[in-house]
Amino acid sequence: MTALIALFARDLRRAWGSGALWLPVVFFLLVATAFPFAVGPDAPLLARTGGGMVWVAALLAALLPIDRLVRPDREAGVLDQLAVRGIADETVAAVKIAAHAVGFGLPLLLALLPATALLAQDGGRVVTLATGLVLAIPALAALAVLSAALTANLKSGSAIGGLLVLPLAVPMLIFGAGMLDPAGRGAEKLLAASSLLLTVIGPFAAGAALRGLRE
């Protein structure tokens, strides 16, 4: 157990070290700033479409660090050393998913307030967005670690990683943005269900991918 805590703390330190903490935040705010320029400063239009933009930005923010989630650990031999110690690949994957969920999820939730202000979202929608993101963050982290593990052997893996994850993330985009629709009842439960599914499958799929890296 201490080994897993040490691994979690290390991954979190590496995620937040040397200013990397602000990367998803800045990216998220960048999208929120650019969007009104692109569609025009029409507040009702922004209010209607901005929520969906928040979801797209959140997904991309999760994928931003794919390059450094698994590949450096593989190249440095850290994954080998963990395997020699008999720590299951699934466990390593689960710890990495948890660390990534906290590592990008917390800053993302903090950045949600200024982002929603820029996109003219009212209080109720901000709460809905925050609830949806909290539900989705574990699944987004699981997808990011999975695609990082699948592409750790490839050059320019992060571009392919994004393509891999996109179809799997679509249900969460639909249900997450659907929560903002006043008529869309039940979207919250469907979002929770699809997030749960991905979060449960994630460690096993990513663990298998980590094992494959050794062959």
Binding site: T2, A3, I5, A6, L7, R10, R14, G17, S18, E75, A76, G77, V78, D80, Q81, L82, A83, V84, R85, G86, R214, E215
Partner: protein, 194 residues
């Protein structure tokens, strides 16, 4: 007869090439086996098989004790000072601070404790990785070219560490191109039908 590691009828296929087959060896307390052979004979693959990092195409691997493993990768976070990078593995192995300190002393790393791993030379990084092996207190050491990049002084420290480990009932499987001046080595010749 306290056997720590046993390989039985092992075959190893890398890519679509058969590296070796029907290979058996046994490692008991105090033993040291030196794997020798030309490049590509499968020394590193055999070490990785013993460590459980590769699955044999045939045969069985039995490990009765914990292993410590070293290869060309140091597995130390480059941005951290050496001491903190080693401390991560001490926490993973639930090892006390003094044990890590003694291991660092054994490889003469105390003066480098505050130097970031990224600043270390190849040989210094190898010494650091060896300190991780020593600190792990695992009975089985699987050493893949541990002396690469080490200077003469570091090599003699490595030899001393290996001797001390064997004296404490540990065992060593060593892949290397030269004998390092170790006494009482069992040689294990690996083919090279490549």
């Amino acid at each position: 007869m306290s056997e720590l590691l046993r390989l039985d009828g092992i075959a190893c296929i890398r890519g679509d090439r058969l590296l070796f087959e029907n290979l058996s060896l046994s490692l008991s307390r105090g033993d040291a086996i030196w794997l020798r052979g030309p490049n590509g004979a499968g020394k590193s693959s055999l070490i990785r098989l013993a460590a459980g990092l590769l699955r044999p195409a045939a045969g069985t691997v039995v490990r009765r004790e914990r292993c410590a493993f070293i290869d060309e990768a140091s597995a130390l976070d480059p941005e951290l000072p050496l001491r903190r990078a080693l401390d991560f593995w001490s926490r993973v192995d639930t090892i006390d601070g003094p044990v890590t300190e003694r291991a660092m002393d054994a490889m003469a790393l105390a003066p480098l404790a505050d130097v970031p791993v990224a600043m270390l030379s190849t040989g210094q990084r190898k010494r650091a990785a060896m300190a991780r092996v020593i600190a792990s207190s695992a009975p089985i050491w699987l050493l893949d070219e541990p002396a690469n990049g080490m200077d003469i002084a570091a090599q003699s420290r490595l030899v001393a560490a290996i001797a001390a480990h064997r004296g404490n009932g540990g065992a060593i499987l060593l892949a290397s191109h030269f004998a390092l001046g170790l006494d009482n080595l069992a040689e294990f010749e690996m083919g090279g039908a490549a």
